[in-house]
């Protein structure tokens, strides 16, 4: 059972991540009164891309070629490091700072890959991505810091596994959760930070860096961003609302925990989809204001906890 739990923990994120994107797209289509693509569309896209040939820019260096493996690999590591359905097993990398900096490594290579081919789109895509991620990193840490102060540990599993939650701290946790949700939107390139569906190069952030990729490498990049979405969603639901995580590795408990976990994820996805349907993308230079607001929320939350 132990090995099975480990296998589940490692494979959960990459296997279910595309489904999450599919769910969000489906909900968005429904809200727009469209039938929309099927839930499994992202899987079909990835499968197709994996089987296509590649065209690579003549100007690309090895950075361009290794970046997808690193970016995808990082999401695998982080995906296995964050608490998903159980709070019992954990990797030595399940630490707040480690996770933040591991994700930053992925962003680093993604941005470099964007610049590598000398395309102007890739360049400003990287510039915007780095601008956002530079500002978000602090907020990321600050929003989880509330939990660190509450639970006296930076280990994500211990935060998720702690049953103790004082009602007095509920407001603080909620405020921090809201700002973490904003971090989620920023890091996964969702509205109001970025439009994942855009075809307009001038407004792109994430997509602009991938314009030069094709075939397998594009598949890995797309898959990696899907992974990132599920990772952040999992952190949101498991750290700020640590309910229903399996505290042992019995088959029944794990099955129940996975069900609860998926239900919790669904809530987040619905929230994202609804949000994307009702709000517009913000102008780029308005984004720091939003992040700053979230940061103030964090500070209030930190002020509230003892």
């Amino acid at each position: 059972m132990h090995i099975l739990a480990w296998a589940l923990q490692i494979l959960f994120v990459p296997l279910l991540a595309p489904l999450g994107v599919g769910i969000i797209n489906k909900i968005k289509a429904k809200v727009q009164r469209r039938q929309g693509a099927g839930l499994l569309q992202p899987y079909r896209d990835i499968r197709k891309l994996l089987h296509k040939d590649e065209v690579i820019s003549e100007d690309a260096s090895f950075i361009f070629n290794i970046a997808p493996y690193i970016v995808f690999g990082i999401t695998l590591i982080v995906g296995a490091s964050v608490p998903l359905f159980t709070s019992v097993i954990h990797l030595p990398s399940s630490d707040l700072i480690t996770v933040v900096l591991l994700l930053a490594t992925g962003t680093f290579f993604l941005a470099l890959a964007g610049m590598d081919t000398g395309s102007s789109f890739g360049g400003f895509g990287s510039s915007r991505e780095m601008t956002l991620s530079a500002l978000v990193e602090g907020l990321f840490i600050a929003s989880i810091l509330v939990l660190v102060i509450l639970h006296r540990t930076t280990n994500l599993y211990l935060i998720a596994g702690s049953v103790h939650l004082d009602y007095a701290d509920l407001i603080a946790v909620a405020l921090a959760g809201v700002s973490f949700f904003i971090v989620l939107l920023a890091e996964t390139n969702r509205f109001p930070f970025d439009n994942v569906d855009t075809h307009l190069e001038l407004t792109m952030i994430h997509e602009a860096m991938l314009l030069e990729y094709s075939g397998k490498k594009l598949a890995l990049m797309e898959w990696a961003s899907a992974n990132k979405l599920i990772i952040f969603a999992a952190m949101l639901v498991n750290l700020y609302f640590p309910v229903g995580l399996a505290s042992n590795l019995q088959f029944g408990t794990i099955a129940l925990a996975i069900t609860i976990f998926i239900a919790k994820l669904l809530v987040v996805y619905v929230a994202i989809a609804v949000l994307e349907s009702v709000i517009a993308k913000l102008r780029f230079f308005r984004l720091p204001g939003l992040l700053f607001t979230a940061f103030i929320l964090c500070l209030i939350a930190i002020g509230l906890v003892k």
């Binding site: 693509a37 896209d45 075809h199 594009l218």
Partner: protein
Amino acid sequence: MTGMERKIEERVKKLFRGSLAIRQIDAGSDNAVEQELNALTNNFYDISRFGIHFVASPRHADMLMVSGPVTRNMRKALEHAYRATPEPKIVVAVGDDAIDGGIFKGSYGVYDGVSSVIPVDYTIPGDPPSPLVILRSLLEILDKVDDSRTKE
């Protein structure tokens, strides 16, 4: 068609069924075709339910939909886009202009159709073809997608 070619085509169709990325190229079109293509993504035609979507870069594309008679200015752009698209790829000439130059045929400024510049696999006639025609042709090209979702 040799057995080898058929096998490859079979593989491609299987691959693209349910996931087709289209890069639209305006090679000197009068924008009539673009209007109709644009309509494909609206709620009524909702092309995304067949797994078909438009993409921003030819690197991501499986299919190039070329409109317009290919003006002299757009020839290089078209060639670049063709070269930039990874194999396997499908080139579709949309509209009469793209097929043989249409009403611009014989003009000194155009190349009389996409096929004189890059190899074309399929054509969708019409000036411009209506969205429904385009959709039907696309689905035909993809050789019948899942039955449950084509019924309207």
